[in-house]
C-alpha cells in the first residue's frame, strides 16, 4: 500500500512543479526569440562552477556581459570558469537543490517521498572511490526529489532554470543555452567523435548514444520545441540499437510537454539513472573530448541522467556489451549485484519413513535391502547436510510440516527413485493436454507437483480445475452433514467428502476480469489466482470456494506463485511492485519496488528465501524475502520477460523473453566483479545454441502455455487448441 501512496504523492509533487514550469514556459519562449543569435550557447552552458553562490554570481556576470555584447570578456570569463568547473565538478543538482530549497513544501514532500522510496527500492548507489565523477546519486539527495527535478536540473544547465520561479532571474536568463537548433549538432559532434576513436573504445562509448538521445529528445519536447524534437528524432532514431525500438515508439508518440505528464516511460527515464559500465580509459577519452569541445550540454546530461560505472581494465567488446545491455535503465550496477545470495537448498526435514512401508519395498529383494536401506538413508542425510551456500534454516520462518506433508514427501522420495535420467539420448516423453473449446480464452495453466490436478485460468474470469487421475474432485460435505459423521472412525477423511459432488472438473467463480496467473499450493489444498481485477484470490480445493481475496494491487496482477514450502506467496503486476503475502494476512508482508515497468512473472527460489521477478523493463530482479532488498539485477534481455524457472538445486535460473531468447543465469555466486569478460552473469552461447537444441516437437494447432516435469521426469504440456 505504501508504495502506491508514495506514487500518488510523488505525482502530486510533480504536478506542482510542472504547473510552475508551464507558467514559466511562455516567458521563456519569448526570451528565446528575443535573442536568436545565441549560437555560442554551447560554450556558455558550462555554468556550474564553484560553489552555489559563486556560480550564481558568475552566471549573473556572464549574462550581463552577454547582454552588453562584450563577447571577449565573456570568452575569457568562460575559459576561466570552465577550468574551475572542471577542477571542481560540483553537481548541478546541488545548486538546483539549493535553489529549489526556496520552495520548502515541494522539497519537503519530495524528500519524504523519496526516503520512503529509497527504503523499499535499490540500495543507494555508492560510486566507487576511484571514480572521477562525483556521483549525483551518492548524495543524500532524495531520489524522488531528484527525479522530479531532473528536468529542472537539466534546464538549469541547459535552459537556465526557467522552471524555477524562485531561482533568481540570472539563471532564468540562461534559457537560451539549450538552443534547440544546436541539439543535432551536439549529438552529431559526439557521434563523429565516437566514430573516430579507437575501435576498442568505440563499442563502450556507443552505449552513451541511446540515453543521450532519449534525454535530449525529452528536453526538446519538454521545452516545447516540438518541431525540433521531431526532426531530432527522425534524424537519429535510426542510429539506436534495434532492441530499443519499442521504447522509441513510445517516445515518438510523445511530442508535447503535456504528454510527458503521467507517461510511464517518461517516468522511468526521469526516476532512474541509466547505468553504463565504461572502462576508465574510455571514460577519460569521453571526458576529455567533452571538455575540449566545451560541450556542456551533453556533459550535463551525462552527469544528471547517467550513472557511469567506471571500472579498471580492458574495455569491453561489442558482444560483451550486447550481452548485458537492452534493459530500460541500462545495466545493473555492480554494487547492486554484490550482496551475497544463499542459493543452496534448505535441509530437508528428517522424515522417519514408516517401517511397514519400508518392508513393503524390502520384500521384493528379501531382506537384503533392509541392510541397504539405512545406509541409503544415511547417504541421503549426508547430502542433506547444511550446504555452505544455503541460508539458515530459520532465516525466514517456514510453516511446520503436517502429517500429510510428510506423507507427500515420502511419496516424492519414492517417485524420485523411479526418475528417468534424461539426456540427449534419452529425451523425455511428452504428454500434451489440450484444452478444447477454449475459444482463445485460456490465459494461465498450472499443474500440481504430483501432476494429479490441472488448473486453468480463463479470460472469462473463471478458474477451472481438472483431475487427471481417476480420482474425482469431491467437495467436503456441508456443516450440517459433517456434524453427523462419526469422528472416531478410521476413514473419517473419506467420510467427510460428498460423493454426490464428484466430478472430473470444477469451476471456480469469483474474479471479475481475466485470470492471468494461477498457482497450486504444494500441499494441493489451495489454489491461487491473480486477475485483471487487481485481486489475488485463494481458493480451497476441499470446498471449492474462495477463501480470501487479497487486495493490494490496484492494477492487473500478471502473475502469482506459491512458495515451495507453502504459506507465502508472491504476486506482481502492472503497478510495478511485487508483493509478498502470507496466506493468513490480508496485507502484504513485503513489497518489492524497483522495477521500471510491469512485473510480468514472479517466482520463488526453491529455498523460499528469495523471489525472482521478471519485468517488462527487460530486467530480472532477485529479492531477499528477509530484508526486502533487491540483491540482483540481471540485464541482458532485449524484450519483456515472460517466464522464469529455477533449477532444482537453486543454482541456476533460466528466463525467457519476447526477444525470442532464453538466457541461463549463473549469477548467484560471488561474481568476479572486476573481470568483466566473465561477468556477464549469464551463459550466452549464440554460436552453438543450435547444438544445444535437443528436439523440436510440433503441436498441431496449439500454442503451448505451460510445461511441467513430473516427479518421474515425464514432460507434461498444456495449451488451448486454437483452430
Amino acid at each position: 500500500m505504501a508504495a502506491v501512496q508514495d506514487g500518488q504523492l510523488n505525482l502530486e509533487v510533480e504536478k506542482d512543479i510542472k504547473t510552475e514550469i508551464t507558467n514559466d514556459g511562455s516567458g521563456n519562449i519569448n526570451a528565446n526569440s528575443s535573442s536568436p543569435g545565441s549560437t555560442s550557447s554551447g560554450g556558455k552552458s558550462k555554468s556550474p562552477a564553484g560553489s552555489g553562490e559563486d556560480q550564481q554570481t558568475l552566471l549573473a556576470v556572464l549574462q550581463f556581459l552577454k547582454r552588453n555584447k562584450l563577447t571577449e570578456s565573456v570568452d575569457i570569463l568562460r575559459r576561466e570558469a570552465g577550468l574551475s568547473a572542471d577542477a571542481d565538478d560540483s553537481p548541478v543538482s546541488e545548486s538546483a537543490g539549493a535553489g529549489s530549497g526556496g520552495v520548502p513544501s515541494v522539497g519537503a514532500d519530495g524528500g519524504d517521498a523519496n526516503s520512503l522510496l529509497s527504503r523499499v527500492s535499490i540500495a543507494t548507489p555508492v560510486a566507487p572511490p576511484d571514480c572521477g565523477l562525483d556521483s549525483h546519486g551518492g548524495l543524500a539527495t532524495p531520489i524522488y526529489f531528484h527525479s522530479s527535478n531532473n528536468c529542472a536540473c537539466t534546464v538549469v544547465a541547459a535552459s537556465g532554470g526557467e522552471d524555477q520561479p524562485d531561482v533568481n532571474v540570472v539563471l532564468s536568463a540562461y534559457s537560451q543555452q539549450g538552443d534547440p537548433v544546436l541539439y543535432p549538432l551536439y549529438y552529431n559532434g559526439l557521434k563523429k567523435f565516437i566514430e573516430s576513436v579507437l575501435d576498442c573504445h568505440r563499442a563502450e562509448l556507443s552505449q552513451v548514444f541511446y540515453p543521450l538521445f532519449v534525454h535530449m529528445y525529452l528536453e526538446l519536447v519538454y521545452n516545447n520545441h516540438e518541431n525540433e524534437a521531431k526532426q531530432f528524432f527522425e534524424k537519429f532514431s535510426g542510429d539506436q540499437e534495434c532492441y530499443y525500438e519499442e521504447d522509441l515508439r513510445i517516445l515518438s508518440s510523445m511530442s508535447k510537454k503535456e504528454h510527458m505528464k503521467g507517461n510511464e516511460t517518461m517516468l522511468d527515464f526521469r526516476t532512474s539513472k541509466f547505468v553504463l559500465r565504461i572502462s576508465r580509459d574510455s571514460y577519460q577519452l569521453l571526458k576529455r573530448h567533452l571538455q575540449e569541445r566545451q560541450n556542456n550540454q551533453i556533459w550535463n546530461i551525462i552527469q544528471e541522467h547517467l550513472y557511469i560505472d567506471i571500472f579498471d581494465g580492458m574495455p569491453r567488446s561489442k558482444s560483451q556489451i550486447d550481452a548485458m545491455s537492452g534493459s530500460l535503465a541500462g545495466e545493473g550496477k555492480r554494487d547492486a549485484n554484490k550482496a551475497k545470495v544463499f542459493y543452496g537448498l534448505l535441509k530437508e526435514p528428517e522424515i522417519e519413513v514408516p517401517l511397514d512401508d519400508e518392508d513393503e519395498e524390502a520384500e521384493n529383494e528379501e531382506g537384503k535391502p533392509k541392510k541397504k536401506k539405512p545406509k541409503k538413508d544415511s547417504m541421503g542425510s549426508k547430502s542433506k547436510k547444511q550446504d555452505p551456500n544455503a541460508p539458515q534454516q530459520t532465516r525466514i520462518p517456514l510453516p511446520e510440516l503436517k502429517d500429510s506433508d510428510k506423507l507427500d514427501k515420502i511419496m516424492n522420495m519414492k517417485e524420485a527413485t523411479k526418475k528417468i535420467r534424461l539426456g540427449p539420448d534419452n529425451l523425455p516423453s511428452i504428454c500434451f493436454y489440450s484444452f478444447l473449446n477454449a475459444y482463445q480464452g485460456l490465459t494461465a495453466v498450472d499443474f500440481t507437483d504430483d501432476s494429479s490436478l490441472i488448473a486453468g485460468g480463463f479470460a472469462d474470469s473463471t478458474v477451472r480445475v481438472w483431475s487427471v487421475t481417476p480420482k474425482k474432485l469431491r467437495r467436503v460435505k456441508s456443516a450440517a452433514d459433517l456434524s453427523n459423521i462419526d469422528k472416531e472412525s478410521d476413514d473419517v477423511l473419506e467420510r467427510i467428502m460428498d460423493e454426490k459432488t464428484a466430478s472430473e472438473s470444477k469451476i471456480l467463480y469469483g474474479h471479475s476480469g481475466p485470470v492471468y496467473g494461477i498457482s497450486f499450493s504444494p500441499d494441493r489444498n489451495y489454489l491461487l489466482s491473480s486477475s485483471e481485477d487487481g485481486t489475488v484470490r485463494l481458493w480451497s480445493l476441499q470446498t471449492f470456494t474462495c477463501l480470501v481475496g487479497y487486495k493490494g494491487h490496484n492494477y492487473p496482477v500478471w502473475d502469482t506463485q506459491f512458495s515451495p514450502y507453502g504459506y507465502y506467496f508472491i504476486s506482481g503486476g502492472h503497478d510495478r511492485v511485487a508483493r509478498l503475502w502470507a496466506t493468513d494476512h490480508y496485507q502484504p508482508l513485503r513489497m518489492f519496488a524497483g522495477h521500471l515497468a510491469d512485473i510480468t512473472c514472479t517466482l520463488f527460489h526453491p529455498n523460499s528465501n528469495y523471489v525472482a521477478t521478471g519485468s517488462a523493463d527487460r530486467t530480472i530482479r532477485l529479492w531477499d524475502v528477509l530484508t526486502g532488498n533487491c540483491v540482483r539485477i540481471l540485464t541482458g534481455h532485449k524484450g519483456p520477460i515472460h517466464s522464469l524457472a529455477f533449477s532444482p538445486n537453486g543454482k541456476f535460473m533460466a528466463s525467457g523473453a519476447t526477444d525470442g531468447r532464453v538466457l541461463l543465469w549463473d549469477a548467484f555466486d560471488d561474481v568476479e566483479l572486476d573481470d568483466f569478460t566473465a561477468a556477464t552473469g549469464h551463459i550466452h552461447l549464440p554460436e552453438n545454441s543450435q547444438e544445444l537444441l535437443l528436439g523440436t516437437y510440433m503441436t498441431k494447432s496449439t500454442p503451448v502455455i505451460h510445461l511441467h516435469f513430473t516427479r518421474r521426469n515425464l514432460l507434461l504440456a498444456a495449451g488451448a487448441y486454437n483452430p
Binding site: 532514431s237 535510426g238 508535447k256 504428454c431 482463445q440 492494477y555 528436439g695 523440436t696 510440433m698
Partner: protein, 626 residues
C-alpha cells in the same frame, strides 16, 4: 539504412477532418483549424497510449489478436470508463460511407424487431471447455528394413504405418534428431498368447496334421487381428533366418502361413505388407533356398510364393502404393540382368507369369528368343554344372508352360514349327508342340466336361494333372507342400517317413462353399476347387502343378507316375476351398519335364473326370470319398 527500415513513427496523426466531424457530432460547429490540429495531435497520442496498454493485455492473454476487451481493460487502467457495446470478439462493427465529399465511419445500429429475435430458434449452446490428453503416447515406427529385397516396399510400409504418428515425430525423423523409441507393444491376453504359441509351433512343427489344423484356424478364425502384427513379424523374421540357413521346409511352412492369413476374410493385411511382401519375394527370387539345390524341389516353393505374390498384388495393389508395378519392375530388372542365376531367373519369370497373361504377353513373350538362346547355351554347351543345367531345364519348362497357354489363346491357328522357330528362337519348336497340345487338351477337356454333367458342367472344368518328382531319387526327401493358391492343394506325405504317420483314412474338410443352392451345377460354378491329396506308397511323391484358372473349378490330381493308374490309389484328403475367379482359362496337362507322365495325362484326367462323376453328386459342401 536504419532509418529506411523504420516507418516515420512520430508523424502519424489523425486528420483534422476527423476532429471536425467529431466536434460536429457533439454539436460544436466551426472548430478552428488550429484547435483541430492541436486536438488531433492530442487524441492521436492518447489513442497510441491506450493501444500500447491494450497490447499488454493481449500479450498476457496469450493471444495474437487484439480484442475489444483488451482496449476496455486498457481504458480501465487509465481510469476511463470502458466503451460499452463493443463486446464482439471478432469484428469491428464500423461501417464506411462516403458521399457529398465526406467520408466517414459509423456504427451501424439497425432497428431490430424483437419478435423476430424471440421467434428465431436459439443457436446451439457453445461447447464447454474440456481437457483432452492423448490416449497413447506417440510412437515412432521402426524403419529398419528387414530385407534389402525391396527397399521401396519397406519405405512404403513404414509410411503407411507412420501416418498415425504425430507430425512431430515425422519431423523429428527428418531432422535426424529424434531417437526412435521402441515399438510400443499391445498387450495380448493370456489366452491369446497361448493360442499364438500353439499356432506358431504347429505351423512350423513336424506334425502335418497339426499344421493343417493350425493353418485352417488361421485361415478361418475371426478375431485374429490382434495377433496379426505378431504373425507378420513371425513370418518375416522366420523367412529371414531360414533363408540364411537354407531350411526349405520351414520356408514352405511359413509361406503356407502367409497363404492362410490371406485367406482369412476377417484380416486386413495391408498394414503388414511391408513385412510380408519382402518375405514372400525372398522366397521367390532368393539364389538359394535349400541345402542341395540339385536335389531339393525348391522350385515348388518359388511357384507357390509367386502365386501368393500375384494374389496379394491383385488384392492390395492400389494407385497409391503401386504394389503390382513395383513388383513387376523388380522382377523384370533382375531378370534382365545377365549375371542373374538360374534360380533367381526362374523366380522372376514365375513371379511375372503369375501376374497374368497380359504380363506374360508384354514382358515374357518378347524375351523368349533371348532366353531360349541362354538355355541353349547351357543345355547344349559343353561344360556346365549340373545345377545350371537343372536350372535351365526348369526355366525352360516354366516358360513353355506359361507361354504355351497364352500363345494358344492369342496366336491364330496354323501352328507351324518353322514359324515358331522364327518367332521364338530355340524354344520355338518345343513351344509349338506345347501349343498344339494345349489346344488339343482344351478341346478334349471341353468334351469331357460335356460328359461329366454333374458338378462341373457349365464352365468347362479344367483338370490339371501334374506330376513331378524328380526321378526316383532319395528316400530322404522331406515332404513337400503342394499348395496352390487360387487353385488347389495337393498334399502328399510320405508314408515311409517314420516321423510322419500317414494320415488317417479319410478326411474331408469343407472350407468354403458359395451359394448353397441345391443344384450342383450352381454350386460348383467356379467356386469350388477340389483338392485331392494322395499319399502314395512309394518313396517319390508329390508336387505341384499349377494352372491359372478361370471361372471353372480346377481339379488337380497328384499321382505318382508308377501307380497313378493303378486304381487303388488311397486318396485321403479332400479339401474344398473357395476359388477366386480369374480371367484366363488354361489347360495344362503336365509339366514337360516328366516324360512318363505325358502319356498318362489323358487317362488321368479322364479318370478324374469320372471320379468327379462320383463325387459330384454330393451337394454343396460335402464330398464323398471316392
Amino acid at each position: 539504412m536504419a532509418e529506411e527500415r523504420r516507418p516515420k513513427q512520430c508523424t502519424v496523426v489523425l486528420p483534422t477532418e476527423s476532429m471536425k466531424a467529431m466536434a460536429e457530432s457533439i454539436g460544436v460547429g466551426q472548430l478552428q483549424e488550429e484547435s483541430c490540429a492541436a486536438l488531433s495531435e492530442e487524441v492521436s497520442y492518447r489513442i497510441k497510449e491506450i493501444a500500447q496498454d491494450a497490447l499488454k493485455f493481449m500479450h498476457h492473454g496469450k493471444r495474437r489478436k487484439l480484442t475489444t476487451s483488451d482496449i476496455d481493460h486498457a481504458l480501465k487502467l487509465k481510469n476511463v470508463e470502458p466503451l460499452y457495446g463493443f463486446q464482439s470478439q471478432e469484428f469491428i462493427p464500423f461501417r464506411f460511407a462516403s458521399g457529398g465529399g465526406r467520408e466517414l465511419h459509423f456504427y451501424e445500429e439497425k432497428e431490430v424487431d424483437l419478435s423476430d429475435i424471440i421467434n428465431t430458434p436459439l443457436p446451439r449452446v457453445p461447447l464447454d471447455v474440456s481437457l483432452k490428453a492423448p490416449k497413447e503416447q506417440q510412437k515412432a515406427e521402426s524403419t529398419e528394413p528387414l530385407k534389402v529385397v525391396k527397399p521401396g516396399q519397406e519405405e512404403e510400409g513404414s509410411i503407411q504405418k507412420g501416418q498415425g504418428a504425430i507430425s512431430a515425430e515425422a519431423k523429428g525423423k527428418k531432422e535426424g534428431l529424434m531417437r526412435m523409441k521402441p515399438r510400443s507393444t499391445h498387450e495380448l491376453s493370456v489366452e491369446q498368447q497361448l493360442y499364438y504359441k500353439e499356432i506358431t509351433e504347429a505351423c512350423v512343427g513336424s506334425c502335418e496334421a497339426k499344421r493343417a489344423e493350425a493353418l485352417q484356424s488361421i485361415a478361418t478364425d475371426p478375431g485374429l487381428y490382434q495377433m496379426l502384427p505378431r504373425f507378420s513379424t513371425f513370418i518375416s523374421e522366420g523367412v529371414r533366418v531360414n533363408v540364411v540357413q537354407n531350411n526349405l521346409a520351414l520356408l514352405i511352412y511359413l509361406m503356407r502361413m502367409v497363404k492362410a492369413l490371406m485367406d482369412n476374410p476377417t484380416l486386413y493385411l495391408e498394414k503388414y505388407l511391408h513385412e510380408l511382401i519382402p518375405a514372400v519375394v525372398t522366397c521367390i527370387v532368393s539364389k538359394q533356398l535349400c541345402l542341395r539345390p540339385d536335389v531339393d524341389n525348391h522350385w515348388a516353393l518359388r511357384d507357390f510364393a509367386a502365386r501368393l505374390m500375384a494374389q496379394s498384388c491383385k488384392t492390395f495393389s492400389t494407385t497409391t502404393n503401386n504394389i503390382q508395378s513395383r513388383i513387376t519392375k523388380t522382377f523384370t530388372k533382375s531378370w534382365l540382368d545377365e549375371k542373374t542365376q538360374w534360380t533367381t531367373r526362374y523366380g522372376c519369370i514365375a513371379g511375372l507369369s503369375e501376374l497374368g497373361p497380359d504380363v506374360i504377353k508384354t514382358l515374357i513373350l518378347p524375351r523368349l528368343t533371348v532366353e531360349g538362346a541362354r538355355i541353349k547355351a547351357v543345355s547344349e554347351g559343353p561344360v556346365v554344372s549340373n545345377i545350371d543345367k537343372i536350372g535351365a531345364d526348369h526355366v525352360q519348362s516354366l516358360l513353355l508352360k506359361h507361354c504355351a497357354s497364352v500363345i494358344a489363346k492369342t496366336r491364330p491357328l496354323p501352328d507351324n514349327m518353322e514359324q515358331y522357330r522364327a518367332d521364338y528362337g530355340y524354344l520355338g519348336p518345343t513351344l509349338c508342340s506345347h501349343v498344339v497340345k494345349a489346344r488339343a487338351q482344351a478341346a478334349l477337356q471341353a468334351q469331357q466336361v460335356n460328359r461329366t454333367t454333374l458338378t462341373i458342367t457349365q464352365p468347362r472344368p479344367t483338370l490339371t494333372v501334374s506330376q513331378s518328382g524328380i526321378g526316383g531319387s532319395g528316400g530322404s526327401r522331406s515332404p513337400s507342400i503342394i499348395k496352390v493358391p487360387s487353385s488347389l492343394t495337393l498334399m502328399s506325405t510320405r508314408p515311409g517317413t517314420p516321423t510322419q504317420p500317414s494320415p488317417p483314412a479319410t478326411k474331408y474338410i469343407v472350407m468354403a462353399t458359395s451359394a448353397g443352392a441345391s443344384s450342383t451345377q450352381q454350386v460348383l460354378d467356379g467356386s469350388l476347387v477340389i483338392t485331392l491329396s494322395s499319399s502314395s506308397g512309394s518313396s517319390v511323391t508329390s508336387t505341384v502343378a499349377s494352372a491359372t484358372s478361370t471361372l471353372q473349378p480346377l481339379v488337380k490330381l497328384e499321382s505318382r507316375a508308377a501307380s497313378g493308374l493303378g486304381g487303388s490309389r488311397p486318396l485321403q484328403k479332400y479339401i474344398v476351398v473357395s476359388l477366386p475367379t480369374s480371367a484366363s482359362s488354361s489347360l495344362e496337362s503336365k509339366s514337360g519335364m516328366l516324360p512318363p507322365s505325358s502319356s498318362s495325362t489323358s487317362p488321368i484326367s479322364l479318370e478324374a473326370g469320372m471320379k468327379m462323376d462320383h463325387t459330384g453328386c454330393v451337394p454343396n459342401g460335402t464330398l464323398l470319398p471316392i
